[in-house]
Symmetry: C2
Subunit: 218 residues, 2 copies
């Protein structure tokens, strides 16, 4: 069965839908309308109907979406119905935070191994995982069938770590280092950049202040 | 002077341009072509010329962009030529990581105060900043002219903290808690969600594996 190609923007919204739907599920709410989802997500209901229509026609007019069914369907689309093991490289504060934060650990996506390049970190414990030397990466990736890697090392070490991750056979990388990394085309890489988000926030702040000044002059 | 309205996608790319240009600057490279920037950023050169054209016509055919001038211009657009103070709420591992990571600290955007709700954290030090009780937020925001807030508390505390940040008069929020927060329309809020990035990575992994299988069947 061929899946329709889904835009990157929609793929990135699906985990948000899933989060809201899980909350409804735990509150034992069985159906939800696109209007209600719109309020919760601060999205236009028409946009929500369009997003969800990608995956078949789940909604029923006047009744809304079945919460359990929608959760199941989105989990399938995101392939959360199968186990995906993740390796994290960089056992600093951010690495610790991400391991603690592994809130999908009751889900099938799990950080199952932690690595570091610095001898002082090797052998320490993070959430029941022993920090391994980076030299053990390739072997561990094969052994545990790890498919995704997270980079939480400083910028100057990041490209070297990325190379080792790619060589180890990992297929996708989530990079937190503030560095632009070069990886082969077949490796999917997503970047999380804190300063980028902060800097773009500032752009909007200023714009609004200018708008205020303008209206004050009116 | 009215500024052209810049799309959110372009605003979010500007800090990446800035990062690459700063690297060139430190390597004492004076001009750069859109082709070279394209290779470094994995973006189409035509896209880069279009992005930069928003801010006036900087590039010169056959010579390229003047690195110093472009840095200055982007810094102006992002309002990095003025001081912006930032408050961080949540002195856990992630809060620590962000304070350490404050790589723009030689820039004008700085985390200048750290808060927590838990008595055990109050009074501890993060990067020369003493963790303050959340009750001191409003007063400190006024005193230090803080305009942006970062939320690094657990999900269940996040809405409460967001309310206090808004009441304190902060204009923009960068939220790391895996929770959907409701804030007034005039407050700009950006979300950084690790699990969302991880989950969307998985979507692409799976698709590629399916494509492989299909080509194997050919």
């Amino acid at each position: 069965m061929k899946q329709t190609k889904i835009s990157e923007a929609v793929v990135k919204r699906l985990p948000i839908y899933l989060q809201v739907l899980n909350e409804l599920y735990y509150r034992e709410i069985q159906t939800v309308s696109s209007q209600e989802l719109g309020i919760k997500l601060d999205l236009n209901p028409a946009q929500i109907r369009k997003d969800l229509a990608y995956f078949g026609d789940f909604g029923r007019k006047g009744i809304g979406y079945d919460v359990t069914y929608l959760i199941e369907k989105i989990r399938q689309i995101l392939k959360l119905d199968q186990k995906i093991n993740v390796a994290l490289v960089g056992a600093g504060n951010l690495g610790h935070a991400l391991c603690n934060y592994n809130k999908y650990s009751n889900d099938n996506m799990k950080i199952t191994a932690v690595f570091d390049v610095h001898p002082s970190k090797i052998g320490t414990q993070i959430n029941h995982l022993t920090v391994l030397p980076i030299e053990a990466l390739a072997e561990t990736v094969k052994e545990l069938n790890i498919r995704l890697g997270i980079i939480t090392v400083p910028a100057f070490e990041a490209q070297n770590v990325a190379n080792q991750i790619v060589e180890a056979g990992i297929e996708g990388i989530l990079n937190f280092a503030p560095a632009i990394l070069r990886v082969p085309d077949e490796i999917r890489i997503h970047h999380v950049d804190f300063t980028r988000e902060l800097l773009s926030l500032a752009y909007y702040l200023e714009r609004e202040r200018e708008a205020d000044n303008e209206s004050n002059l009116d």
